[in-house]
């Protein structure tokens, strides 16, 4: 990859295209961890491609290309969220619009929705894209301890979801308590979602 990065830094458009195409899965998955629909993800990715091309010369170390690119992508996603928030500030916001097309990604979309929004991005970056917690800290500009906390809570939440689905028929009082917390926090997430979408 570093060869492609160096060529792209020398304004080799073909190398840059090959480089970014090799990152499409990563970019799409990360953008969907933030944005609710494909069209917004498409906009964020398109803007990221153009921005990376403009700013390739500012990347000092080719080894950090993926981290750098992901930071740009997340900034673009957040820009889109902010614009939507301004547009829809006083309107009644619907639930997450389901604009995903095709059967092919249905399972993946379901898995994505099963993650709480608050922890979705760090889980995606850590487990799916393979970043270290220190790299995620740099990408999201949050302390590494916060990354670790979100990862742990995200894992816990997934475990609780699993427990809720598996144990509804016969749960102990302790398990029921956890489920209550889950439901309460899910309501909070709903509120946040309505504000952001």
């Amino acid at each position: 990859m570093e060869n492609l990065v160096k060529k792209a830094q020398n304004r080799d458009a073909d190398a840059f295209t090959a480089l970014m195409q090799s990152q499409m899965q990563n970019m799409y998955k990360a953008s969907r961890a933030i944005l609710a629909n494909e069209e917004d993800a498409a906009d964020a990715i398109s803007e990221t491609i153009l921005t990376c091309w403009e700013k390739m010369s500012q990347l000092e170390n080719p080894a950090y290309f993926r981290t750098w690119m992901t930071r740009i992508l997340i900034n673009k996603c957040n820009d889109i969220l902010r614009k939507k928030e301004k547009l829809l500030f006083t309107e009644e916001i619907p639930e997450i619009p389901s604009q995903d097309t095709g059967y092919a990604n249905m399972e993946w979309n379901e898995a994505l929705k099963s993650l709480d929004e608050k922890y979705r991005l760090v889980i995606m970056l850590y487990y799916v894209e393979g970043y270290k917690t220190s790299e995620i800290s740099m990408i999201l500009e949050i302390p590494e301890s916060t990354v670790r906390t979100r990862l742990a809570r995200g894992r816990q939440r997934l475990a609780m979801e699993y427990g809720r689905e598996e144990d509804t028929a016969d749960c102990s009082s302790a398990a029921c308590g956890i489920k209550d917390i889950t439901i309460l926090e899910n309501k909070n997430v709903q509120i946040q979602r309505r504000r952001l979408v």
Partner: protein
């Protein structure tokens, strides 16, 4: 769905939706210059749509020319303009010019002064000076009424450059505030004013002695002579600073500073017919055109395929085949023995046509040179270990006389 299953499903390769592929393809097309698309300053006005709009280092095809539209400007009278009939500090020291070289560039009309000012809020921006040859154009804008502390980088949130009547060409530009630093002969950052290296932890200063800032634009074209004598329109939008790691400018002064003028310049070059093989690289240097600020060379370079291993996002490896690049232009050796080995600034290179073995390379020079004093051209044969300087062992040396 179990926790592990969820993670595994998310890790699995998925189908990239059509809308994502389509928009990505449009971005790649824009980058490769196969389609014109305004981005930073989208406008549907006929005036703008008929202009040639340049994007930083993008390659794009341009539309036919249209008549220039009048834009309200403050243009200095003869007396006031005289105050700006002096070289911008950024171009004077950034290109490491001597007084004699500056006079030569002025005499050739390669360097010219504009003195056009626009004020928005408390900030006055003056289009001060340009240097234009066949392939490159430097523009320098003086920014007054805006202060930044040392270590803080100023920036405009949007920059638009449009050159009219330039025919069908590809090109690009980049722009930034001048920071007083230039690369030395070994590629290390040094202060342009006195050649001292940038100290560890030293805060970079963008402020001139008189408190002003200088914003520089460098434009490049693949087509010879496409800037000289052409009307140009520049818009600088919303002035501010880059805060921390933020990618976008934090705007401090809102406004758009617009400039219209006609680029002067000189197409004067020294041409060489060389027909010199570059060692065992497979490339034969055919011609070279040298101006005080740029070089354009052509090679005969039969295509050599290079296959390399690349890694995709899942860590899987795959093979990719590309063409080898001709030896890079590195610099010049002067008749007095002075070697400038890292002279190539921004540039472009590649085959002239899909079915041609002629390979062209055009580079801006990092410093103004006296073309009559050039004894040899230097091309990279190999790179030394680490940060060692380039020596003759690393170079193909091609005498021009």
């Amino acid at each position: 769905m179990k926790q592990k299953d969820t993670i595994e499903i998310l890790k699995a390769e998925i189908e990239i939706p059509e809308i994502v592929q389509k928009k990505a393809a449009e971005a790649f097309t824009q980058i490769k210059g196969e389609k014109v698309s305004m981005r930073k300053f989208e406008s549907t006005s006929e005036k703008t749509m008929n202009r040639k709009s340049l994007r930083p280092f993008t390659r794009r095809r341009m539309w036919p020319a249209a008549a220039a539209a009048a834009v309200a400007l403050t243009v200095f009278g003869a007396g006031a303009a005289a105050a700006y009939m002096q070289w911008s500090r950024g171009l004077e020291e950034g290109l490491r010019t001597t007084a004699e070289q500056r006079q030569v560039l002025e005499d050739k009309k390669m360097a010219s002064f504009v003195g056009q000012s626009v004020t928005q809020g408390d900030v006055t921006v003056t289009m001060q000076q340009s240097i234009v040859d066949n392939y490159f154009a430097y523009l320098s804008f003086k920014v007054e009424g805006f202060e930044v502390e040392d270590g803080i980088q100023p920036g405009f949130s949007g920059v638009s450059v449009e050159v009219e009547d330039s025919g069908d060409y590809t090109g690009g530009w980049n722009a930034s505030f001048y920071d007083g630093l230039v690369p030395d002969n070994d590629g290390r950052a040094v202060h342009a004013a006195d050649g001292t290296p940038l100290g560890e932890g030293e805060q970079i200063s963008y402020t001139m002695e008189d408190g002003s800032l200088e914003f520089q634009v460098m434009m490049q074209s693949d087509r010879k002579g496409c800037f000289i004598g052409k009307p140009i329109h520049v818009e600088l939008k919303d002035l501010g600073t880059y805060a921390g790691k933020a990618e976008d400018v934090e705007v401090a002064v809102e406004g758009t500073w617009k400039f219209d003028w006609t680029l002067q310049g000189s197409d004067e070059v020294v041409e060489y017919e060389l027909n010199t093989p570059l060692g065992d690289s497979g490339a034969t240097l055919l011609t070279a055109e040298l101006s005080p600020i740029s070089i354009s060379v052509s090679y005969d370079f039969p295509r050599q395929e290079e296959t390399e291993m690349v890694m995709d996002e899942n860590g899987d490896t795959m093979m990719r085949t590309m063409y080898a690049e001709a030896p890079y232009f590195s610099g010049v050796r002067l008749k007095d023995g002075t070697m400038y080995t890292r002279l190539a600034g921004g540039g472009a290179e590649g085959y002239t046509a899909e079915d041609s073995d002629v390979y062209e390379s055009t580079w801006a020079l990092r410093r103004v040179i006296d073309v009559e004093q050039v004894e040899s051209l230097l091309f990279i044969k190999s790179y030394p270990e680490g940060e060692q300087p380039l020596t003759e062992e690393n170079l193909y040396i091609v005498p021009v006389e």
